[in-house]
Symmetry: C2
Subunit: 482 residues, 2 copies
């Protein structure tokens, strides 16, 4: 009798927490053993409580994984509460992402979505000369396997450059990778394990969402505000309520919003993560691409005793095709080297040597100044074209750096439909929902600023605006736009 | 009362299965729900049964993972039964592997462990010339991001070469990767998910063990017999008893044993995997390195309707430092491209173009013939040196291809101790237990055949033999070797 009451009491309390939204749909419930310990009841009582909740349709058992809160039919004010995502393995099979991959690999598109600077904006001849020089000096260079951590001379170049934004890095903590995305993946693999909760921005780069999904991690999301970036107070509130293992953040010119998180917010973000024992994995891919003034500081600048792994690459600033990136791995360096060693063994040696040679003998700063100028001009041209030719009410970000534009379409146009129509006309763009775990931003569109300005680019922007207008009119026939 | 008897009965039967070795240490037991269903008892009864077994020390609960069979004090005849490994996350922290990484990155070692052919054995000047040519023709080549799947012209070259060993491959199913290890990792990520059981050889390459561990997979092992490779009958017996998702096999000149699996065994292996719905992931890294005659067929040759993903690279045959490998992904091509896209985005373009240029304009076959001859001679020299200078009773493999030698030390010498002593004297080698999930092969040693023969190599082999002799005498003082 007593035991019956105990389990009913327990089920009642858990049920109330679920109905009040304190336990969120998709959230994993404590194991039987842990629930028993927490509530000082026997495991049999815990089992009965979960079975009761299951009969009530509030929780569901998943084979080998335990009990999870079921999606509720009664709407819970989602915006009010932190969004907790269960692992979303279906994201890897997201049909929209297949479309993205098609776009990425089709050569007949005018790729308005491209965020990688076009060859015309980069010092191609100098990179080629540096590579040829390296080969002439040592023809065997293409043959030598490098150490998994990467070429010491390159790691020193990377460390030197960080000094300029006030970050002291020991080359011994740098791991050279095949681009920033590999660095982020290695960092996640070193710091987390399947089932851990990771804090992300929303919207954020779909590659990060995929990595989270592929590693079996769960995510909570903090808003990235167009213009002002990550809200440190919101992040702090989330950390207080959830056991977060790591935060993957893009504070400098976030992809897709292009927004820059301010220095005060950065300090506060790093402090809050430190207090909660959260490792920060920072994607600083666009940090060097401020349109004017100094490059903004990476979060690492404010690290103190917080563990911050900063990931970046030369893919957006110097030589996309060489696939050379890095992680400032701090105390995690051994773990990252190990993860690197057992995933791709080592980064190709020739590209590392070519970039080192370029950095030592050529003028990276000059090339970067030119690139930043071109991107700033592109942002202006793209925005002008959108203001001129797109439906009234279209909202477009006004980035201070980076290579992305983030648009909110006028008239509630479905960006996926616009994307499909655009691709059918040979124009690439990305629908906003790719940048969300939950398929938000359905009326948003991301463009890239990587192409060199040209009449075809101008025409494609105009055509995309015309399409957006047509979809907008279809949706609102009574507003008299026809 | 009835329920008490039920759980005692159930616990008794499970306990007997464990004691008889039918349920193996480390094996995961059915979830409460599944056990209840299987045995037609309530979940509460299942809980009581597991709690009883836990009190008896036969099983243990792991937070969030369920119940597992505990290691037994009473010896079970391990060789008799298939070995089922529970997930071994500690493998990633294996201190011996840290030692390996030190060895891999130390530049002051004479690396007798190296399996990658030395620059002297490879066509370095021709690769350099091809790279320079590519850069001269198109200086922007280092700048272009390639498609995630890889350069079409390179995929075509890869496909053409397979025709020679009777394998028809569509370039559209090939994915270019950063080396064979990345190909294997992408294949595993595409085919398995955490908790799945994968069939491996024992011994096998430690990189494969690490990948298995990092992905949270479990493993069962089929012996790789020195000389004759994988035993198809043993493999078939294992598949009949375990729900295996994929098999990662190295049929051609396995690392470390160097053994070659015969064509009949290959056919039978592929057939058995097909019957059980097991995807074969084949590491064919050494397939081109037969010391004489034709290159042996990959398992893919016998695929029929079995799903076989063949992974390989140019790292052991042409240009280690360029890190270009591939997977023949068959029907899994979309999954692999996606996994590639979201881990390292794409493989560097310049190395892909350089290798394509080399393959089109230079004589790969001639370079390969020379390499195969050199490796064959090396194997002979290494074996002669071991026969002359190492303790009597040392057994050494006699490979027909590949770049490894597998030794069983005389007198039961601990290979880890020998490894440590050797490294202290500036000589690299690998202790056998790295090639086993369970730390077997403690008296085995792996050497590599990658170095060019030279007096220092000869001296290092002699010194290693002298050390092995000293350790052997220490262990067996009464046998009168002193």
């Amino acid at each position: 009798m007593a035991s019956t009451l105990l389990y009913e009491d327990l089920a009642g309390r858990l049920g109330a927490q679920i109905r009040r939204g304190l336990l969120r749909p998709g959230e994993r419930l404590p194991s039987l053993r842990r629930l028993g310990r927490q509530e000082r009841v026997s495991i049999a009582t815990a089992v009965e409580a979960y079975l009761r909740l299951e009969r009530e349709g509030l929780v569901e058992a998943r084979e080998r994984s335990g009990y999870f809160v079921r999606a509720q039919r009664v709407a819970v004010p989602a915006a009010r509460l932190p969004r907790v995502q269960a692992r979303a393995p279906q994201a890897l099979r997201n049909p929209a992402l297949l479309g993205v991959l098609d776009v990425l690999s089709r050569e007949d598109l005018l790729p308005l979505h491209v965020t990688t600077p076009a060859p015309e904006l980069l010092p191609g001849r100098a990179i080629a000369a540096a590579t040829t020089h390296v080969l002439r000096r040592d023809p065997g260079v293409a043959l030598a396997y490098g150490a998994p951590q990467g070429l010491p001379a390159l790691r020193e170049q990377i460390a030197r450059r960080y000094l300029r934004c006030g970050v002291e890095v020991d080359p011994g903590e740098i791991v050279v990778t095949a681009g920033a995305m590999e660095a982020i993946t290695l960092a996640l693999r070193s710091v987390t394990r399947a089932g851990d909760v990771v804090l992300l921005e929303t919207p954020t780069y779909y590659g990060i969402l995929q990595a989270i999904s592929a590693l079996g991690l769960r995510a909570i999301e903090v808003p990235n505000r167009v213009g002002s970036g990550i809200d440190a107070a919101a992040l702090r509130a989330l950390l207080a309520r959830h056991a977060v293992r790591a935060a993957v953040l893009v504070p400098n010119f976030n992809n897709p919003t292009g927004s820059l998180t301010g220095d005060d917010d950065k300090r506060e973000i790093v402090a809050a993560c430190g207090e909660h024992g959260v490792t920060v994995i920072e994607d600083d891919l666009y940090g060097e691409l401020a349109y004017s003034g100094e490059r903004p500081a990476p979060l690492r600048r404010y690290a103190g005793r917080t563990s911050v792994i900063t990931c970046s690459s030369y893919s957006k600033t110097l030589a996309p095709g060489l696939r050379i990136g890095w992680a400032l791995a701090g105390t995690h360096v051994d773990d990252l080297v190990r993860a690197k060693c057992f995933s791709s063994v080592a980064t190709a040696g020739l590209p590392q040597r070519a970039i080192t040679e370029y950095l030592v003998r050529h003028d990276f700063d000059r090339a970067l100044r030119r690139l930043r100028r071109e991107l700033a001009t592109n942002a202006q041209r793209w925005r002008d074209a959108i203001r001129r030719g797109w439906p009234e009410g279209t909202r477009v970000s006004d980035p201070a750096g980076g290579t992305t534009l983030w648009l909110e379409l006028a008239g509630g146009v479905d960006a996926q439909a616009l994307f499909e129509a655009a691709v059918a006309r040979g124009i690439g763009c990305l629908p906003g929902h790719l940048f969300s775990l939950r398929g938000d931003y359905r009326t948003h569109l991301r463009l890239g600023l990587g192409l060199a300005w040209s009449p075809p680019v101008e025409a494609a922007l105009r055509e995309l605006g015309r399409l957006a207008g047509r979809f907008a009119r279809r949706r609102t026939p009574k507003e008299g736009h026809e």
